[in-house]
């Protein structure tokens, strides 16, 4: 498993009803840097664990093009021993007290998240402080980590679903740090030195870029004081930058094949430009997508391609295939794994259904279903302290409001099919798809030829590029 997929608890605070939420943002000091840390905290008196996140506002989008994976290496090296404790000693102590700590790097954040049984909260916070402020950056550990990450990267060749995503992002984010995933590729990881890691740490781990979030059974003052102690020891620095990159979307569907001999299914990954979290149309587009392909069992794609035609087990669409929405415009994706003999049929069926969706939007039943479901399931967004904290954190990081249930119901209730069609017309492309298909290239070519033999030439799809899995991880 790739280290970047080691997800852990994401935390933050939000107030609905009786939830007690704390948000501490201190007044700015003279140089514009806050005089105290920004903390989102919810006390959960019956909780059995203390869950903590530390967010550094920088991410893989800022990695140099030839060193993608640098942010991830920095995050991992912070957890690989401190100046006082070897990696083994640090990790043994963390695990012995019933704790865990890991890092997830997104396009624009590095998030350290940890959890510990409540009896050992103080010991855990002391270890967290030691790791964040005094990482060892030991050469031997660095070489071991690089080897481990390189092994993980090569292992992605085993996952057809992920290979499709790698192929698509190479085209859409070409020439930017996002053309490769946040954990990098073989060639970029090999170029990164320990000095690069130390420099990146020194440049980005400073007070203005660090935010704390937690849910724990302890009084607010206890946790906030601990965070303030950590935060004060970081140097002053500059405010985080908001880097974004432009997407390259084709005018006509472009079919790319990742050659995997002898598969019995084809792994399909359609991608085109999506939206950012600040997009004013995001509620409308997400509501439309719910009934088009976003929700298993009830969406149009699922009902027809699986339920009526029986061509595939899995099919769905999403605005957050690269992770949650962020300040960067993401991808809109449709993915499926049809049996290999249905691959061409499924591609053309998806294109046909997409065009119909863009032209006609949803039926009134479909739109009502999406609205009812989204409104009624909204309480799950705030079900636990961890989820409430997470929403508050997202709201802060991207300057987007958190809607109360009433506001959310009003917002979703106002969406009409006319609004949806207008948003689709403005934001989505009828033909601007990169279609990555992971399957046996010979089988795909033959199947496409057979399927398209009666189609006019201008409606045919041709394979524009063939990747080997090795090329994609390199």
């Amino acid at each position: 498993m790739l280290r970047t997929t080691l997800l852990c608890v994401v935390l933050s605070a939000f107030a609905f009803g009786k939830s007690k939420v704390s948000f501490r943002a201190a007044p700015p000091s003279q140089n514009g840097v806050p005089a105290a840390p920004i903390v989102f905290y919810e006390r959960n008196p019956s909780g059995l664990t203390s869950d903590v996140s530390v967010i550094v506002m920088t991410g893989s989008i800022e990695d140099p093009l030839d060193k993608v994976g640098l942010s991830n290496l920095v995050a991992e090296m912070v957890l690989r021993g401190t100046q006082k404790m070897s990696r083994e000693k640090f990790q043994s102590e963390l695990e012995r007290i019933g704790g865990s700590l890991s890092a997830v790097v997104s396009m624009d954040t590095i998030q350290f998240s940890g959890s510990v049984i409540k009896e050992n909260n103080k010991k855990f916070l002391a270890l967290l402080e030691e790791a964040l402020l005094h990482p060892a950056f030991n050469e031997k550990d660095f070489l071991e980590l690089k080897r481990e990450i390189l092994n993980d990267i090569v292992h992605v060749k085993n996952s057809n679903g992920r290979l499709g995503g790698l192929a698509a992002r190479r085209e859409i984010f070409k020439g930017t740090a996002l053309e490769k995933p946040g954990f990098g590729s073989k060639s970029t990881i090999e170029k990164i030195s320990l000095a690069d890691v130390q420099r990146r740490y020194n440049d980005f781990f400073d007070r203005p870029k660090i935010v704390f979030a937690a849910a724990a059974p302890f009084p607010e003052s206890e946790m906030l004081d601990a965070f303030a102690q950590i935060w004060r020891q970081f140097p002053d620095g500059s405010k985080p930058t908001k880097k974004i990159v432009n997407l390259k979307v084709p005018e006509k569907p472009v079919l790319i094949v990742v050659d995997k001999p002898k598969t019995s299914t084809g792994s399909l990954f359609f991608a085109q430009a999506g939206i950012s979290i600040q997009d004013p149309e995001r509620y409308t587009l997400n509501t439309g997508n719910f009934s088009f392909g976003g929700e298993p069992l009830v969406s149009r794609l699922f009902r027809i391609v699986r339920g009526e035609l029986g061509w595939t087990y899995a099919i769905g669409s999403s605005y957050s295939a690269l992770g949650g929405l962020s300040g960067q415009q993401g991808l809109y994706t449709i993915s499926s794994t049809p049996s290999v003999e249905y691959t061409s049929k499924t591609i053309f069926k998806i294109l046909e259904m997409w065009k119909s969706y863009l032209d006609e939007g949803l039926s009134s039943d479909e739109l009502d279903l999406a609205k009812d479901s989204l409104i009624n399931s909204y309480p799950f967004e705030f079900e636990t302290a961890a989820k409430r904290v997470s929403h508050k954190l997202t709201s802060y990081l991207y300057n987007v409001p958190i809607l109360t249930p009433e506001e959310f119901a009003e917002k979703i209730g106002d969406i009409s099919n006319r609004k949806l069609k207008s948003a689709l017309k403005e934001k989505q492309k009828a033909n601007g798809w990169i279609i990555a298909l992971v399957a046996d290239k010979d089988v795909v070519a033959k199947d496409l030829e057979e399927y398209q033999k009666d189609l006019p030439k201008d409606q045919r799809l041709t394979i524009s590029k063939v990747y080997t899995p090795d090329e994609l991880v390199n």
């Binding site: 498993m1 608890v9 909780g47 059995l48 664990t49 083994e88 990790q91 043994s92 695990e95 012995r96 019933g98 704790g99 865990s100 959890s115 049984i117 050992n120 071991e144 080897r147 481990e148 092994n151 993980d152 292992h155 085993n158 057809n160 001999p261 002898k262 598969t263 019995s264 299914t265 929700e295 298993p296 069992l297 009830v298 009902r303 699986r306 339920g307 009526e308 029986g310 061509w311 595939t312 087990y313 899995a314 794994t337 049809p338 049996s339 290999v340 279903l369 009812d372 479901s373 409104i375 009624n376 399931s377 909204y378 309480p379 799950f380 705030f382 079900e383 636990t384 010979d442 899995p469």
Partner: protein, 457 residues
């Protein structure tokens, strides 16, 4: 889904048992969990069991229905004698009744705001689950009871659903790790039906008849073969009122029970090697036969597997992943089928034999040396952390209760196991390692990439 036993800490106190509340249902037991929560078990006269754990932090709840039927039963059933129908049938349960035709169940549960709605089938059970806003409980009970009692099997829909299931099967066949696991079950068991996959073969799936599906439904989907588990924002009065209304009239029926063929004692190591066209590096699985989940030795074996594999400092990870030999390395207990499994995904330049040598070395170490106190504490506290994180989530908690009920007959078994952890000593881990981790009782499966020449032949 492969079982991972989540082990649970609790001091559970039986407060009351077998109290008849009304003729409509019986309160069978009330149990206090270690965190102060109180869990209650009820039973209807028709045999339907209900387990309720009220939680009122948010206005939501998880609702699960567990049927004591899986692929083992169909393989042993005199009329079926094959696997795959239990799973295919699980798909058909979403395909409609007279009152709510095909698609309506999904539409209505979706409209009510259901979350994580789905179903799974395994060797010994099938479960259906959803989380909903608590004000939708009555409607959900009406829908769930309707499909349990009144499913309208449609021959045309059955054929369509076979296509989706074949797609699911083929996706699994493209996954070398999944193939390795199927092969391990076939190798560990010579006669027990664990050696047949839950999903069945493509031939079996395509060959199921409408009559077989009807027989399966009428035979196994009965109230006395089902347990409802509810965790979340409701209470006895509300829940049981609607359970009685919607499930009370269902008739219990005789459920055929089959005696599992006795698996002969394993006397020597078994080993299978094969290639897979999608494999890019070796996969190694090693299964050691262990006793059933109700054996006292399971407690020590569970902690032993945690000691070996959980966390960045686990011995297997250090020896295999940190060294660059493997991409991942794990060890866990599986019950029904019962074995302790080592699983290693090798790095491209390394061979399964290297990993096997290291597993042997680590196994010999735990057999010959008592685990150090620090390492023992590490394993115990990691178990607690895992438990605490899990039980806070309604659906994870319901899953744990349901799985233990189905596998051991006692939904509190997970809590008992963790409680017993606290009584263990490091020497207990050495003792079970010596007793069970022996070469003559293990099976080895290695799946390798094809040779370069044969990859496109």
């Amino acid at each position: 889904m492969k079982i991972k036993y989540f082990l649970v800490l609790a001091i559970c106190t039986i407060i009351q048992t077998h109290q008849v509340i009304a003729a409509d249902y019986e309160k069978v037991a009330e149990k206090k969990l270690f965190n102060g929560e109180v869990l209650t078990e009820y039973k209807l006269p028709n045999g339907l069991k209900v387990i309720l754990l009220p939680r009122h932090e948010a206005k939501v709840l998880t609702f699960q229905t567990w049927f004591d039927i899986g692929s083992l039963d169909e393989k042993m059933d005199a009329k079926l004698k094959k696997t795959g129908l239990a799973h295919l049938f699980e798909h058909m349960m979403f395909r409609g009744t007279d009152k709510y035709p095909d698609g309506k169940f999904d539409e209505l549960t979706s409209r009510m705001g259901s979350d994580k709605q789905n179903a799974t089938t395994y060797f010994y059970r099938t479960n259906y689950y959803e989380s909903i806003p608590s004000n939708q409980l009555k409607k959900l009970l009406e829908l769930e009871s309707d499909r349990m009692a009144n499913l309208k099997l449609d021959a045309a829909l059955l054929e369509k659903e076979k296509g989706a299931v074949v797609g699911e099967l083929r996706r699994a066949l493209d996954n070398p790790g999944r193939i390795a696991w199927d092969e391990l079950n076939r190798t560990v068991f010579e006669v027990a039906p664990f050696r047949y996959t839950v999903i069945g073969t493509e031939e079996e799936i395509k060959g199921f008849s409408f009559e077989e599906a009807q027989y399966f439904y009428k035979t196994f989907y009965a109230p006395n073969n089902a347990t409802i588990i509810v965790v979340g924002d409701t209470n006895e009065e509300e829940l049981m009122k609607w359970v009685v209304k919607y499930y009370g009239d269902m008739k219990s029926q005789e459920i055929p029970r089959y005696k599992m063929p006795e698996e002969p004692a394993q006397k020597k190591e078994r080993r299978v090697e094969k290639t897979h066209p999608q494999a890019t590096s070796d996969i190694l699985l090693v299964g050691y036969r262990i006793p059933p989940v109700n054996s006292p030795d399971i407690v020590s074996l569970s902690l032993l597997s945690t000691h070996l594999s959980t966390g960045m400092e686990a011995r297997l990870r250090k020896a295999l992943v940190d060294s660059g030999i493997a991409v991942s390395a794990g060890c866990g207990i599986s019950n029904v089928p019962d074995y302790l499994e080592f699983s290693v995904s090798l790095s491209e330049k390394h061979k399964a034999e290297e990993a096997l040598e290291i597993i042997d070395r680590e196994v010999n170490l735990v057999k010959s040396q008592t685990v150090k106190k620090d390492e023992f504490d590490r394993a115990l506290n990691q178990e607690l952390l895992s438990l605490y994180n899990m039980i806070e989530d309604n659906s994870s908690m319901a899953n744990m209760l349901g799985d233990y009920l189905m596998v051991s007959g006692d939904y509190m078994r997970g809590f008992e196991i963790i409680d017993q952890f606290k009584k263990l000593k490091p020497a207990d881990l050495k003792s079970v390692a010596k007793k069970y981790l022996n070469k003559e009782s293990r099976s080895i499966v290695i799946v390798r990439p094809p040779s370069k020449k044969s990859s496109r032949s």
